[in-house]
Amino acid sequence: MTTKRIRDPIEWLKYILLGIASLVVLFPPYVVVLNAFKGPDESSSPFALPASFLNVENFRIVFDRADILQAFSNTFIVIAVSLVGNIVFGTMVSYALARISFKGKRLILGLFLFASIIPTITTQVVIFSLIQSLGVFNTLFAPILLFIGADVLQITIYLQFIRNIPEELDESAMIDGASLFRIYASIIFPLLSPATVTLVILKTINIYNELYIPFLYMPKQKLVMVSTSIMRFASNNQAQWSYICATILIIMVPTVLLYLFLQRYIFAGVTNGAVKG
């Protein structure tokens, strides 16, 4: 069996293609890593190795000048508040849609579905004045308000999960006299945790990567988020590649680590969402 596999040219071709793809994926980050550790007098050739990988001077400078800590803490606050709200709203909507039959259920699902095909940047033309009249322009509430709402991907994943929870569980709780709110809070919500974990990870990555919303609604220096911090820093330090590479690394490492440890949930979420979408 094994020998047959190795002789098979198609098998070789598979590894060659995978090898090429891996090189293409790794090439840009590899160059970034090399150059993030280079001092000002070192070779500017992108492939030259740095004198030492222990030279963290660039990172120190970037932490000082690019408001990295401020950016991380603002981003963290926005993610935490948005996600708590988003998970609560998403589970509530899904519970109501899955367990209570009422007129207009399909309409509501349809509204959430249609909302997902509207490219978000197009509506910012109007949302911009809305955010201003709500008085949240240049506050962390602007992105939070825009991220906190339930969305169709989340609702479909939750609905799938709730349909797999036997209704007998609800019924026996009702015989014990539990209120519907209690059934939601102490039976349904905990049983949804696997889906919640997946959604929290995916949404964390999405918000962390979001560019235009923080750019548009929080121009104030103190309200810098991860994506806007690197934009501001890079436009002030054109062609200072070693600094920019250090910033890129600092910003990329958290999500890549998150991904490496939690890949199982991420793949589950991507596949699930796509098949349903």
């Binding site: 509204l111 940047i121 006299g177 590479c245």
Partner: protein, 294 residues
């Protein structure tokens, strides 16, 4: 015994749906409706009064090549997206076979999707830089000086360079979606095909691809609507330059609104983009339905 369950159901419906629906209305449907209304006006974003223009904004969009013509810049993204789907299917099929290091390759190819988009953009600015960029350096090392270019500075190349970044970033994502679909094809179908004497390519063509039709349609929708709405990459990397050659329709839209304060025209542009997205969706759904009937 507390309140009756019938009453509770009504309470739950109202309380559980109220805030999410308000948010949906406020940040999606109200803006969409207002966008439609503004698209017939010349609103400048500040004044209280608006002048009604009828269809003038739409006429402007379709007759002014500076506006509608930028869609031409987005053709490389469409081509890149189609290529991305083909390559993604190829790698999904490879990774769906018994192969050593499967999980490692899967994790590796997906990693670009996880990375911060702005960081990816700057990473590629370094790749594409004419003087110090790693791509030109690599070509130089390989003795291919003739292929060295100003990747982001050449008006005929810039959109292809940007589209290739998008390819780099999303290929793994598309692949994972295909891989998920492949894994749901029951293995015994392949066994049956092998028993019937089908070779690898026959089972790929007659078994795998037909089973992927729906996912291919979905991914093509994502690809095409994504190509219509290209924004982040040119916004960060080129600001639409050089000389406007990497402007996209959405970039133009936000400029029209936020730089030139022509909210009426920008709203009409948004509506046009939305209509195009819906058209793609409807056409694809019709294609799926037709297949289903046949």
């Amino acid at each position: 015994m507390g309140t009756s369950y019938a009453r509770q159901r009504t309470m739950i419906l109202i309380t559980f749906l109220f805030i999410p629906l308000v948010l949906l209305g406020l940040f999606t449907y109200y803006p969409a409706v207002r966008l439609l209304y503004l698209s017939f006006t010349s609103w400048d974003g500040i004044s209280d009064t608006v002048q009604f223009l009828g269809l003038d904004n739409y006429k402007e969009i379709f007759t002014n090549p500076d506006l509608f013509g930028v869609f031409l810049h987005q053709i490389p993204y469409v081509l890149g997206g189609i290529l991305q789907n083909i390559i993604a299917i190829l790698f999904a099929v490879i990774l769906n076979s018994k192969i050593k290091g499967r999980n490692l390759f899967r994790v590796l190819l997906f990693v670009p999707y996880i990375m911060n988009g702005v960081a990816v953009a700057f990473m590629f600015q370094y790749v594409f830089d004419t003087e110090n960029g790693s791509l030109n350096a690599l070509l130089g090392m390989l003795g291919l000086q003739s292929l060295q270019h100003s990747w982001l500075g050449d008006t005929s190349l810039v959109n292809f360079s940007l589209a290739s970044v998008s390819f780099w970033r999303y290929m793994g994502y598309t692949m994972i979606i295909y891989l998920g679909a492949l894994q749901s094809i029951p293995g015994d179908m392949y066994e049956a095909a092998t028993i019937d004497g089908a070779n690898r390519f026959q089972s790929l063509w007659h078994l795998t691809l037909p089973n992927l039709t729906q996912v291919i349609q979905l991914n093509m929708f994502l690809t095409l609507s994504g190509a219509l709405a290209v924004f982040d990459l040119p916004f960060v990397l080129t600001k639409g330059g050089p000389v406007g050659s990497s402007e996209t329709f959405l970039l133009k839209t936000t400029e029209t609104a936020f730089t030139f304060n022509n909210y009426g025209l920008a709203s009409a542009m948004s509506i046009v983009l939305l209509i195009f997205t819906i058209v793609i969706l409807v056409v694809q759904n019709m294609a799926i339905k037709r297949k289903g009937d046949a």
